[in-house]
Each structure stands twice: as C-alpha cells, then as structure tokens.
C-alpha cells in the first residue's frame, strides 16, 4: 500500500522494476528497500523462525534487529530492510537459518 498523497512530503521514487517473491512476479521502485517494496505489495511476512517455525516480519527497519532476514538471489540472511531493490531480484521467504551455497 503506497501513500497516494501526503500534506508535506513528496516521494522521489526510482523507475519501476520487476522482481520475484517466492516465484510471484511483483513490481517495485528501484532503490527502495526490498522490505518497502514487499510492504507496498501487501506482503509483511518475511521468514519463518528456526525453532518454532513462527512467521516473522519487519521490526526495526534500520538494519539492527535481524527480524527481516530473507533469501535474496540465493544468499540467505539478507536484511531486506536495508537491501535496495534491483531489477530482476529473486526474493524468497527464509525458512530457518538459511542455507549457505
């Protein structure tokens, strides 16, 4: 959900790019964070915890807390709250600790 109109802010956004989330094709703005692009598409669940398999989302949004770790282009444990969106990124829900390849 994007903000359509704001009384004091104008949002400068990058060009529209395509990326995939768990195989689904989505669009976002280049240069915004992956977390922001997912939220804009209404997606708030980013990973499954390791022990109790509970859903986890964004918490701090500035790279401190490790709540939003996802698999991006095959690499696990990417903090999507600070990782910028690029054309063609493959973003996946991380289950557990992530596999190192």
């Amino acid at each position: 959900m994007r903000i359509k109109k704001h009384p004091i802010l104008e949002f400068k956004t990058g060009k529209i790019v395509k990326f995939t989330f768990d195989g689904r094709e989505l669009e976002g703005h280049e240069g915004e964070t992956i977390a922001a692009a997912l939220h804009a598409a209404g997606i708030r669940t980013m990973r499954e915890s390791g022990h109790l398999h509970r859903p986890r989302g964004l918490f701090c949004n500035i790279g401190n807390c490790s709540s939003c770790l996802m698999v991006v282009n095959g690499e696990p444990n990417v903090r999507v709250c600070v990782e910028r969106l690029r054309e063609g990124m493959n973003v996946e829900t991380q289950k557990g600790k992530g596999e190192l390849k």
Binding site: G50, P76, N77, E99, L100
Partner: protein, 382 residues
C-alpha cells in the same frame, strides 16, 4: 568466614568440576571448589571445545578415547536434564607436506593398535566428507568419525551440578590469594573471603596455577599464551566434521546451533595474561578460512575473543603430585587440549588423590619430568 575442608579444588573450569565430581562419586567428603569468577570464565569457556581421539602418542590417544566414550554417556552419568550438545561429526586432519603424510600414517598406526576407528582419506574422499573443502595442495587427510565437539559451558555445568548433588560446595567469585603450607605440607588456602584450612589442595587453575604454586615456592613451568577464536552467524548444518590443518595452524567447526567456530595458532601470540582480541587475527583467520572453505566468505562474523593456553615446555599437561611436598596435586598445563580429556582426567586425578591405582598410567605426565629432562612430546597439536 574461616572454615575447614578435606579437599580444596582451585579452578572452576571443566577440569576442576570433573575432578570434584569424580572425588565425590568415590565417596570423598567435605570438598570445596573455589573459582575466582564464574564457572567456565577462564580457558574452558573460551576454548574451541573440539574432542578427538586422533593423537600421536599412545597415552594421549587412550586419554582421549576413554574421554570420548565418557562424553557419549555423560548426560546419563551425570543425571543432566539438559544436553551437552555432543556432536560426533568427526575430525578431518589435513596433510599438506610429505612429512605430515608420514607422521599421520605413524599416528594411524598408534591409533589402530588401540582400536581407534581412524583412517587415511584421499583428497577426493575428503571432498566427499566436506563438500565445500578446497582441496588445492592437499595430499590427503585422516578422518575419525567418533571425534567431534561439545558445548563447553553445558559440559562444565553438568559436572558442577552433579558434584553439588553429591555434596561438593562450589564457591564462585572467590579468589585464592595464596596457598598456605608448613614444613612441606599444605595447611590451607587464603581467599579474599577468609582462610580455608585443608590438608589437600588440587591446583587446576590453568595458567594461574603457576602464580598460585609460586606462593609456596613451587616453580611450575607454565606460560600463558593467548589464542583467539571467532564465531559466525548461524546457517543450516552443512559441515559434519571439524576441519583441522596443522599446516595452516587452523581449525574450523560448525556447532549444532549452526554457527562456525574457528581458531588459529600463531607463534607470535603474546605470552602474558592478555585477553584482548587482535585485528590481525580477524584478518588472517578470515583469509585462511575462506581459502580452505570458500563458501564461508558469505558469513558474517558475530564475535571474536581470546583465551589462554596454559603452555608447558612439551605442550603436555602436568598431572600428579609434587615430590617432597605433601597435599598438593596438579592438573594444569593442558596446553590447549584439556577440554577433550577432562572426563578421563577427572577420574584419574580422583584415583590418584585417593591413593588408588590409576586406571591408566599417568606417571609420564608428572611434574618431575621437567627436572629429569624427560619431555613428552605430542606431535599432533595446534
């Protein structure tokens, strides 16, 4: 607070707690264990906690083999409700020079005589065991699937809790200032909380054993040497064995939690009580580990720390009594491989202290070997 005890054990690492448990199990009473900070605050809590049978001398092989068999059943033996996280993923010891190949084959000979299930593996077989291993320059390796890794905090906790259930009193945040002796006989220890009178002191305080022994004019040839370790973020399990290279002076293990724990041996480490990590270690460790195990380059380091080896001239522990001095027993100078032999060491020391015949011979580890010039060299240590 002045009190008396039949036995005072100094040092709350895995060795001290194992000795305390074994003494109490044999029926000894009135045992006090003194630790200047918290249990595992010294070398135990800072060690790599690898556990292996693959040594080069028969005595060490036996100590380690017996200990591993004890680790396998330790939770049951100690009535521990938690887990010591013993992971038997093996040890892969890498050989890079002809001399190493020769030595490893010699070691295998010693190990096989004692029934240790180790074997020679080719570089190709090494890669099957650790698929992400870079085999460049590798001539071969030895592998023993019974080797592995434990959680040093929980192992010590298990011993301490079992010892306490058997009546051992554990005093943490209590520092021994000096040993008290008269006419060649121990009479007690002076702590920052008062004097404890005792006829028997067991010294297992790592490097600090040297300083404490000096208070009764015993000169232990123990030198503290800093060693450093780092731990990475966790990922799903991908590496079964501990990978160890004497050539690179490196070991690297994935613990059950998923983190990689790794360390380096560096001859230039300061020989003093220095617990500060260095940036050179972080740099060198990262370079060497990512050469040997390339995918690890994508892992974040979450922490680095340092601990002290209690180094002796032959890198072997000192076990036993002090000739001409009554009531002092030593279990110190483990030189970086104390954790893995703690179960058997505790048992042997308890037997020795109570004057029983020891289950394995320990005379080659006695304090007098330095005076006799009979150093006991172990070829396979980092």
């Amino acid at each position: 607070m002045n009190k008396t005890a039949d036995y005072v054990i100094i040092g709350g690492g895995v060795i001290g707690c194992s000795i305390a448990y074994n003494l109490a199990k044999k029926g000894a009473k009135n045992i006090v264990l003194i630790e200047k900070k918290y249990l595992t605050s010294g070398a135990t809590g800072r060690c790599g906690a690898g556990v292996r049978m693959q040594f080069g001398t028969e005595t060490n092989c036996l100590l380690a083999k017996n200990s591993i068999e004890m680790f396998e059943n330790l939770e049951e033996e100690l009535g521990y409700q938690d887990s010591i996280e013993f992971k038997q993923g093996g040890y892969l010891l890498l050989a890079y020079t002809e001399k190493m190949v020769e030595q490893f084959h010699k070691n295998l000979g010693v190990q096989h005589k004692l029934g240790i299930p180790s074997r020679w593996v080719t570089p190709e077989e090494s890669k099957e065991i650790v698929p992400h291993l870079n085999t460049q320059g590798l001539l071969g390796a030895t592998f023993c699937g019974k080797d592995g890794h434990c959680n040093p905090f929980k192992t010590t906790d298990a011993y301490a809790k079992a010892a306490e259930r058997l009546g051992v009193e554990i005093m943490t945040y209590t520092e021994v200032k000096q040993l008290l002796a008269q006419d060649g006989r121990i009479t007690g220890v002076e702590t920052d909380k008062g004097v404890i009178e005792t006829p028997v002191v067991v010294l297992c305080a790592g490097s600090y054993s040297r300083d404490l022994a000096a208070t009764i004019d015993i000169d232990l040839p123990i030198t503290p040497e800093r060693h450093q370790i780092l731990v990475t973020e966790p990922v799903e399990m991908m590496q079964g064995p501990m990978v160890m290279s004497f050539y690179h002076g490196l070991y690297c293990q994935q613990v059950p939690h998923g983190s990689f724990v790794m360390g380096l041996g560096d001859p230039n480490e300061p020989k003093e009580y220095n617990f500060n990590g260095s940036w050179q270690f972080l740099h060198e460790m990262a370079a060497k580990a990512t050469f040997l195990l390339p995918p690890l380059a994508n892992l974040r380091v979450v922490r680095q720390w340092a601990g002290l080896y209690d180094l002796t001239p032959d890198r072997q522990q000192i076990l036993g009594s002090v000739p001409g001095f009554e009531g002092v027993h030593l279990a110190a100078g483990f030189s970086g491989h104390g954790f893995m032999i703690a179960p058997m060491t505790g048992k042997l020391m308890a037997e020795h202290i109570l004057g029983e015949e020891t289950s394995l011979p320990i005379s080659m580890f006695d304090f007098s070997r330095f005076a006799r010039g009979e150093l006991f060299v172990e070829p396979s240590v980092v």
